[in-house]
Structure formats: structure tokens, C-alpha cells
């Protein structure tokens, strides 16, 4: 069974079902959505269990020809519907399953235009999960762009008072970045050759299934000697072929040997930088992070959960899936710069979080800070660092989902997010206090919680890496102290002392059943992954060691 | 470069035309007696006594008639080149007389197209000086008139 396609198309079809079902079923839309995301989660867990830990290559591959374009004397362009997961995407797919399910539960509070909301939510689910599984760069880009639309509407229609500003800012920032990715994509497309299809074209083999490594080498040699007529060359977006330098046309821009210069920059370096900007906006890395606090503040709780929990991870995932394997030598050369931006994000995000009075903004900036660790880990180009980065992405997905849910709980009751509006909540809401404490401690990196593993491994990677100076990583470590600072300070201000809430009559109720059912599992997950980090590391290890061979 | 000289001829023609006109006008000015009187200085209107401002409004119907006239008048130009080849003896001999019929039919088609235009203008009533009353169509609108009244009432307040 094409299980990955099911994972993508189930929510897409469900989205259409919701969009076209009559109004009298309005009350069931949320249950339907919850059911669909539950099935998604079940499939993700099934995938997780059947994932072969020892194989570095892609698994559960699905391939269909999608678009074939004759390009005249440029050859033939082919775009495939190509899905698969490996050690880097598997944790992300699992995370998507978890966060989307929790988000669906949290969406029960949506009370206006349910049809549109749940239909868009399911659309978002499908496109995000597709983004993590696409192995054709074009397909990846398609999902990458396409998920902006539901997100844009989800913020723009169901958001807070400044929703229009926040949603268009979110959209323009990300789109600006994705256009950079588009440029690199076109350049790669014109440079990279599909050796398998080309072998079929020039008659070395009769069918794609007969391919062997020798044939690929033969095609690559022919390519190098310019022996293949240009009409027979099949251009491709296939990410599996892009890391191999032999698949690049000898005179193309992005061939490592051609040394093309654009604006007195090496073309490959330029392409890498463009990708970095594109994915950096998504991550978000300082200084292109400013859309994030705005989007978070205006988005409704479930959308914030999805945004922080999954969408940010696509930035980091893009680095590991596209930028790094294809341009390894540039990545090595610019390691310092990348890590420097990572450290800047860590420190800048943390200082901002310290200064915020709005609880949601505080958490948004803490996200910036935490995603800085991802950049640090990836930039270090060590096994610990990259493993840690993937781990940090997973852990931050779970924890930030939890944090935003917690803010949502408070906001639902009082419609006030200012930190200084609350005092001594521990007396009235003991369970809520406990959950917040767990989330805060896990986020600030207390051992035995998942946040700790991610941060420690990325820092270890940073210290071990020969490419970056020690002092830079040391500054990053200082970010941990700041993190402890803002989380503990917030905890103290809101929960301790005498009970007082600004301008609020009535009693604050503790967690309801629905809230418990969202928060408890997440807390348990944070704990489980903190104690058994091999649950994720087993997945990632083989793939990342394979990736590191490129450098 | 040959074409350049052809264009040179055209330039020469233009220059010659300007010079010729200027010279003639200048000569006339020198030779003719100059005795202006009031009659001579009035605007020429085909012998009519000029009356009132020159910027009067003409009846719009003049324009329509003039337009139609110009259209059909200009089409006559196309008859001249046709006439030169219609009776071409060599062509007739070469085609066994078929040429004559062919060109005749061609011209009928051409004039036929013009006729259709004339018919259109005629039916439209552009040829009548006094235009008939505009006929409203028999077409019944699906929207009842009461609806319009309602709208008028609603917005007239």
C-alpha cells in the first residue's frame, strides 16, 4: 500500500469533504478532523515502528512520473511524484502526526466559520506532511509554498485584532524566502541530470528497473566527456541525484568544477546563501525573524501550536535535506557564518524573551532562541551536532506546542496575556501550575527532559567542531542561562505570591478534561524522550553518518 | 545603397514642392494688385452672406451622412486599379476569356460587401434625415417592474 501517499491525501480529501458537506453537519466537523488526525498519527507511529534503523537510504519509496517537459535542445525536464522518508524526515513526520493531532483537539474552541477552519486545517496537515516526505525538489517546493495559503487564512480570518497585518507579513516574509529557493531550484534543475532516465534515453538500458551503479557511473563518464547529445539529457528535480557531483552537467553553473562566477561570487556559494536566506526566514533566524512574534501573537492557539510546533522545523529540515547535501563544500566554508547567526539568534531571542510582557511574545522569542540551537548544531557539521539539531527540532516541536497550549488555556479564561496581570495562580490552578512548570523546565533544558538532550548535543557538536571557534559555542551556552532566566522569572511572577488577577471577576477554573488530554500526553512525551533519547537518535544516526561522508 | 538614393529622390521632391509653393506665392504677392475691400475680406461661404459666429454647432446628422459618404467614396479608389487589369488583353487571351468573368465576379463580391454595409446603414435608419421613433424591443424582462419601483422607493428617501 502506498502508505506515504495515504498520509498526504487522506487529509487533503478530508479537507474537500469538510468544504463540501452541508451545514447541518457543522457540529461534527471537529470530531471528523480529530478522527482524521488520529488516523494520521496512527500511520506515523506505524511508520516509526517499521522504519529500518540501520538503513541510511530512503525508505517506503513511492515514485510516479508526474510532469515531463520537452525543452527543445536543452533536453527533457522531468518532475516526479517522489516520496520517501529517511532518518532526518522520520522524526519530523512523527512530530507532525503528534502536533497536528493535539492541534485538532485544541481547535475544538473555534466557534465561528467552522467549515472553513477545519477544511483549511486539514489542508495544512496534508501539505506539511507532504513537505517532509517529498524527495523531488519541485514537489517539496510545491508543498512548501502551498502550506502558506491555509496558514495565511488561518491567521488572517481567525486571528486577533491585528490579524491582517500579521498574516500578510507572515506570508510576504516566507514567500520572499521561498522565491530565493525557487531561483536555486531552477538553477539546480538546469544543472542536474537524472542518470537513470538518461540511461534509458540513450539506450544503455531498456527500463528504469535495470539500473545498476555501473550504468550510473558510465552515464556520468559520458556526461563528463560531453558525449551525450543535449536533446537526450533528462533534467531532474530529484533530490537523490543532486548530492552526487557526477550528475551535474560539466558546463553548468552549479557544477563544482565549472567555477562559474556571478557578481564576482562563486555561483555555488551564491546558491547556498540564497537557500540559507530562504530557509533561515522559515526557521526563523535573526535578523529575518520579525514575522514570527507578530504571527504568533495574532494567531489563534491551535494555529500557534502548529506554527511553532511544525512549520519552523521545515526551515531546519530544508537545510539538512537540500542546502547541506548539495553544497557541502560551501557549507564547510561558511560554517562560521552560519553558526554565528545561530548564536546571534540564541542570544538575541533570549534577551528579547526576557524583555517581553506578553506571554505569547515571550514564548515566540524563546522559539527564536531555541531554533538558534538547531542552526548551531547543523553548522557545526559534526555527528553530535546534527543529531542534536534534529533532536532539538523534535523536542522543541513538542515543547512549544505545549507552551502555546498553556498560554491558550489562560487566554481563554481571562482574554489577557500580559505577564504582569497575574500573580499567585498556583493557589487557584494547581494542575495548570504543574503543567506550566514541567513545560518551562523542559524548555530551559533541565536534565531528564527532552530539551536538555537537544541543547547538550548541539553544544557538544559546537565544541567538537574544528570549523568554529570555541568562544562562539561558549556564548551559545550562555544562552542556556538566559533561557533559565526568563522562564524561571516568568514562573515566579505568574504563579507565586498572593493570588491576584487584573480586572477579572469570577473564579479561574483549573484544567478541563480536554485541556488535560492535550497537555498530559505532551508532558509525558517530553519526559519519555528526555530519558530515552535513543528513540530518536536510533532513527537519525545512520542517515546522518551517511550525510557527513559528503563533507 | 540604391534604396538610399530612392529615398533621396523623395527628399528632393519634398524640398522641390516646398520651394515651388514658396516661390509661387512670393511671385503672386509681387505681381498681383493689392486693393482690399470689405467684401473681399469676409469669410468665403459659397456666396452666402456670412452670419453669426463661425463656431456654430452643426446638426449631428451631417457627420453621419458625411461619414457614410466618405466610406463609399473612398472605396471607388479600388475600382481604378481593377479597371486597368479588367480589360487586359494578354490576360484574357492567356486564360481563354476566363479572366474577364473572374475579375467581374471579384468586383461584384467587393461591391456586394459594400452593399451589405449600405443595407446595414439603411436599416439602422442612418440614411433618413428625419429619424423614425426608436422602436423599443418586445423583449420582456424577467424582473418584474414592481421590483424597480421598490428599489426606487427604497433609495429615494
Amino acid at each position: 500500500m502506498p502508505i506515504l501517499s495515504v498520509l498526504i491525501f487522506l487529509p487533503l480529501i478530508a479537507s474537500l469533504v469538510v468544504a463540501f458537506s452541508p451545514d447541518q453537519f457543522k457540529a461534527y466537523f471537529k470530531w471528523f478532523t480529530l478522527g482524521v488526525t488520529a488516523i494520521e498519527l496512527a500511520i506515523c507511529i506505524y511508520l516509526y515502528q517499521n522504519f529500518n534503523h540501520d538503513v541510511a537510504d530512503y525508505q517506503f519509496l513511492e515514485q510516479l512520473d508526474w510532469i515531463t517537459l520537452p525543452l527543445g535542445n536543452l533536453g527533457i525536464g522531468s518532475i516526479d511524484y517522489l516520496l520517501g522518508v529517511d532518518g532526518i524526515s522520520m522524526p519530523m513526520v512523527l512530530l507532525t502526526g503528534i502536533v497536528m493531532f493535539v492541534g485538532a483537539l485544541s481547535s475544538f474552541q473555534i466557534e465561528q466559520k467552522e467549515r472553513g477552519y477545519f477544511s483549511l486545517y486539514l489542508l495544512l496537515t496534508g501539505s506539511v506532511i507532504g513537505c517532509f516526505m517529498a524527495l523531488d525538489m519541485f514537489l517539496f517546493y510545491l508543498f512548501f509554498e502551498f502550506m502558506l495559503l491555509p496558514m495565511y487564512f488561518l491567521i488572517g480570518i481567525w486571528g486577533g485584532p491585528r490579524k491582517e497585518y500579521a498574516s500578510i507579513k507572515f506570508f510576504l516574509y516566507t514567500l520572499f524566502g521561498s522565491i530565493f529557493i525557487l531561483i536555486v531550484m531552477i538553477a539546480l534543475y538546469l544543472s542536474v541530470v537524472d542518470p537513470v532516465e538518461t540511461a534509458v534515453r540513450i539506450g544503455l538500458i531498456n527500463d528504469v528497473s535495470e539500473i545498476t551503479p555501473q550504468i550510473i557511473t558510465e552515464v556520468q563518464n559520458l556526461l563528463k566527456d560531453l558525449k551525450i547529445p543535449s536533446e537526450q539529457i533528462v533534467h531532474t528535480f530529484d533530490l537523490r541525484f543532486m548530492p552526487d557531483a557526477g550528475n551535474f552537467l560539466p558546463d553548468s553553473w552549479l557544477n563544482i568544477l565549472s567555477g562559474t562566477q556571478i557578481f564576482s561570487f562563486s555561483a555555488r556559494a551564491l546558491a547556498f546563501i540564497l537557500l540559507m536566506i530562504g530557509f533561515g526566514i522559515k526557521l526563523p533566524a535573526v535578523p529575518v525573524h520579525t514575522w514570527l512574534p507578530d504571527a504568533h501573537v495574532e494567531a489563534p492557539t491551535p494555529v500557534s501550536v502548529v506554527l511553532a510546533g511544525i512549520l519552523l522545523k521545515i526551515g531546519g529540515y530544508g537545510f539538512l535535506r537540500i542546502a547541506y547535501p548539495i553544497f557541502p563544500e560551501v557549507a564547510t566554508e561558511y560554517a562560521f557564518v552560519i553558526v554565528a547567526f545561530g548564536v546571534l539568534s540564541i542570544i538575541y531571542g533570549a534577551f528579547n524573551a526576557l524583555a517581553m510582557n506578553d506571554l505569547k511574545k515571550m514564548i515566540a522569542y524563546s522559539s527564536v532562541s531555541h531554533m538558534g540551537f538547531v542552526l548551531l548544531g547543523i553548522g557545526s557539521l559534526t555527528s553530535e551536532g546534527i543529531n542534536g539539531a534534529v533532536y532539538q527540532m523534535f523536542s522543541h516541536g513538542v515543547l512549544s506546542a505545549m507552551l502555546f497550549l498553556l498560554v491558550g488555556v489562560l487566554y481563554d479564561r481571562t482574554h489577557d496575556r500580559r505577564i504582569d496581570s497575574y500573580q499567585g495562580l498556583a493557589n487557584k490552578m494547581p494542575l495548570y501550575t504543574a503543567m506550566t512548570a514541567i513545560a518551562f523546565f523542559a524548555s530551559l533544558g533541565l536534565p531528564a527532559f527532552s530539551g536538555f538532550i537537544g541543547e547538550v548535543f548541539t553544544l557538544m557538536g559546537g565544541f567538537n567542531s574544528p570549523l568554529i571557534p570555541r568562544w562562539l559555542t561558549a556564548i551559545a551556552a550562555f544562552g542556556l542561562v538566559l533561557g533559565a532566566g526568563y522562564f524561571l522569572w516568568t514562573l515566579q511572577r505568574i504563579f507565586f505570591g498572593k493570588y491576584w488577577v487584573r480586572q477579572f471577576e469570577g473564579t479561574l477554573e483549573d484544567l478541563t478534561f480536554r485541556e488535560k488530554s492535550m497537555l498530559y500526553p505532551l508532558a509525558i512525551l517530553a519526559f519519555v524522550f528526555g530519558i530515552f533519547p535513543h528513540l530518536i537518535f536510533d532513527l537519525t544516526n545512520a542517515t546522518i553518518s551517511e550525510l557527513l561522508k559528503l563533507f | 545603397m540604391t534604396m538610399l538614393t530612392d529615398f533621396g529622390y523623395i527628399l528632393l521632391f519634398i524640398i522641390a514642392a516646398i520651394v515651388f509653393v514658396a516661390v509661387i506665392l512670393f511671385l503672386a504677392k509681387l505681381i498681383r494688385p493689392n486693393r482690399p475691400n470689405e467684401e473681399k475680406l469676409t469669410t468665403y461661404e459659397s456666396g452666402e452672406e456670412p452670419d453669426g459666429n463661425a463656431n456654430v454647432r452643426f446638426n449631428i446628422r451631417f457627420y453621419v451622412v458625411a461619414l457614410i459618404f466618405i466610406l463609399f467614396d473612398v472605396e471607388i479608389i479600388f475600382l481604378f486599379p481593377w479597371a486597368t487589369v479588367f480589360g487586359n488583353k494578354r490576360l484574357i487571351a492567356e486564360t481563354d476569356g476566363l479572366w474577364g468573368w473572374f475579375s467581374l465576379v471579384e468586383m461584384f463580391v467587393f461591391v456586394g460587401v459594400l452593399l451589405i454595409g449600405l443595407a446595414y446603414a439603411w436599416i439602422k435608419g442612418h440614411l433618413d434625415w428625419v429619424r423614425p421613433e426608436v422602436k423599443t424591443t418586445e423583449y420582456e424582462s424577467k424582473i418584474p417592474t414592481s421590483l424597480y419601483d421598490k428599489i426606487n422607493q427604497k433609495y429615494s428617501q
Partner: protein, 471 residues
Amino acid sequence: MNAIIALSLFGISNLFLGFLNNRKILLPATLVFILIALGLNFADWNHEYYWFNNMLKTNNLSVNFVTIILLSTFLVVAISRSFGDDDEHSHPAEYYAILLFSAVGAIMMVTFENLIMLFVGLEILSVSMYVLTGSDKRSLRSNEAALKYFLMGSFATGILLFGVALVYGATSSFDIHGIAQGVAKAKEQMGGAYGPLLYSGVILIMVGLLFKISAAPFHFWTPDVYDGAPSIFTAFMSTVVKTAGVAATYRILSISFPSVYGLWGNPLVYIVCATLIIGNITAVYQQSFKRMLAYSSISHAGYLLITVLAKRPETNSSLLFYSLAYAIATITAFAVLMVVSEAQAKNGKADESFEALNGLANNNPLLAFSLTISMLSLAGIPLTAGFFGKFFVFSDAFSNPSSLFKWILVIAILMSTVGIYYYFKPIIAAYMKKGEVAKIELSPLYKFILILTTTLTILLGLAPDLVKNIF
């Protein structure tokens, strides 16, 4: 090429159909006429024919362009709703006839083999458009637009004609292939240089044609004319006239003057950049949806010209695909604009500002959805036809080895980001702004056209090779 003759006859029959007392027959009759012409057009597929003593030439490229033109005409006619057939001042029979005549002009502009035919086609198209622009006789704006368009347009045609004369002087031919030979010969005689006659001739022809496709700096008429003309004719102008203009420009530049690329390429670089920048930046500041669409049409002329400039073997198909995607999306946008602006009319005048769209999605989901898809397509968001249009154009520019194209690409990409900002304004208005648009009753045909264009936009975004392989 029988399509030309058929369409002319149909136009005349349309005029006489107008004398029947039944105005309802006009719309279906015109649609059938266009479909017949479309069928006749396909008869030329896979043949290379010279027509009328080498005056016109059809090949697959021209058949494709004619198809796009006729398809656009079909869609525009289908959303015309008989021009409000309860209004006694409208002349639906004449409007339809003139639309058909102008389609004839457009077809001549994409099939011409002789510059005389280019001129005749351009004039047929332009004169028809002058009339249609001013067809809203009681509106001052419409009158102003028509006069402006007429004065500027005839001036541009004059320039074009002067260019044709000069090129004739330089190459002693009106035939576009003959000109190519003449240019080569002239270049040989001059030792690689080109004389002042050819130089000014090519530039003047280019100026005349660029005026018609409203490329900056010859775009000044566009916003006023597009804004003043009745929306239905604006839709026609921004699709059919633009497609024909770009096709004609491409035809003459690529067939007659490929050997003097430097001569027209260098000025065109600046024109493309200016068009992109002016079109997009000015569109941001518009308050009226219709005016925004006018500026957007300027900017799309810029994108189309990029691929003309890139001069790749794929330019043919990129140009076709882009024109098709752009035409479908624009017609959808105008279709929505027309019904909404009429429903929101203030003091008897149609409200064409963005505010008219506020809250459209509440009662009119189909209109809002079609509008969204068309805007996304114009902005070039993936899974819509517009994305692939831009993708192909950018690929062409990319694959041209000249380093100049990197700069053009930088500008084009920055400007498409700017474009996203203003294309989202209607979407924001329709879905997020508070406002009330009553439920608008649409005729079945209108609904069908909206669904058809929206589906086509998405379909071409999912599977561009469906048509790209034909082109």
C-alpha cells in the same frame, strides 16, 4: 486561415441579427460563431501554409496563438451577459460584431507574413478597441478614455508605419523573411554595422508595438483607458490585445531581426526592467481593483518580454503558456469584478474599489474562491497556472548565458514579491475585511465560466505538460 474569413462574415451576420427583436439570441449565436472559428483554426494544425499571396502564414505556433485569442474572446463574450439587455442605449449586436472584428485583427497580427498585414491587423484591432472603449456613451470617464486611447493609439500606429517605411528603405522588402535576408545583406555590405535607416526603423516598429502591449515607458495611457472602459472591454483589452501584441512583437523580432539582436535587445533590456518596476510598484498604491489590474497587466507585459528577450528555443512555448495562464486568470478576475462592482453600485455608479469586495466570501463563496485562485495565479503561487508561467519564463532567462539576464532576473524576482502584496489585497478584502455583499444571483453560463476558468487555472498548475507539450 479560414477563421479570418469566417469571423468577418459572422461579424456582419451579427450586425443583422441585431435587427431581430430578440436580443437573447445574440449571445449564444456569437459563442457558436467563435467555436466554429476555433474549429476552422484547428484545420491548419500541422500544416505550413501561405495565404493570400504570401500575406499570411500559418504554422503550429500561430495556430496556438489564435487558439488563445479565440478562447479569450469566447470567455469574454460568455461573461458579457448580453451587455445588460434591458438597457436601450446599449447596442449588443454591434458590440459583439466589433469584438469579432477585432478578433480578426488579432489573428492577422499573429499570422502576418508581410508588414502590411501587421499594420492592417493592428488597425482593425485598434479601431475596434477605440470604439468599444467609448461605448459607455453617458460616462465621462469612458469618453475620456476613448479619446485618450484614440489619440495616443493613432500616434503609435503612425510611428509603427514610419518604422515599417524605414525598414523597407533599408531592406527593400515588406516580407518578414525577405527583411531578414535584406538585413543580412545590408549588414554584409556595411561590414557588420547597420545603417541609420535600419536602426531607426527597427526601433520605431518596436515602439509602435510596445505601445500596444503597454510596456513602460509607453504605458501612460493604460491605467486611464483600462479604468474608463467598461469592464468587459477592459477584460478583452488586457487579454486579447496583449496576447496579439506580444505575439506580433515576438514574430517580427525573432523572424526578421534575429541577426541584429544587439540593436533591439539592448533597448529592450531597459524597457523590460522599467516595465516590471513601474507596473508593480505603482500597482501597490492603487485603491481601485480595476486600476490595480491595469497596472498588473503592465507588469505581466514585462514578464512576457523577458522571454522574448531571452530568445531561447523554448520561448515559443513559454510565451504561449504564460499568455494562456495570464488570460484565463485575468478574465476570471474581471468576471468577479464586474458582478460585484455592479451589485455594490453607489449612486448608480459601479464601485470598483477594493472596498467593494469586503466580506464577499460570506454570501458568495464561488465568487470569492474564483477571485482567490485567479489572484494566486497572477501572483505566481504554485499549483496555479501562473506559477508555471513564471517558472518557464525564469527558466528561459536562466538558460540564456548572457550575464545581463541575471540582473533582469533579480529585478523580476523582487518585483514578483511586490506583486504578491497587491494581489493579496482583494483576497484580504474578500475573506478578512468586515463588510456585506448580498448574495449575487449568477446565470448558469456565468457560473459555468467561473468554474471552468478556475478549474483550468488549477489544472494547468497541476499538470502544465498537458498543454506545454502541445505548444
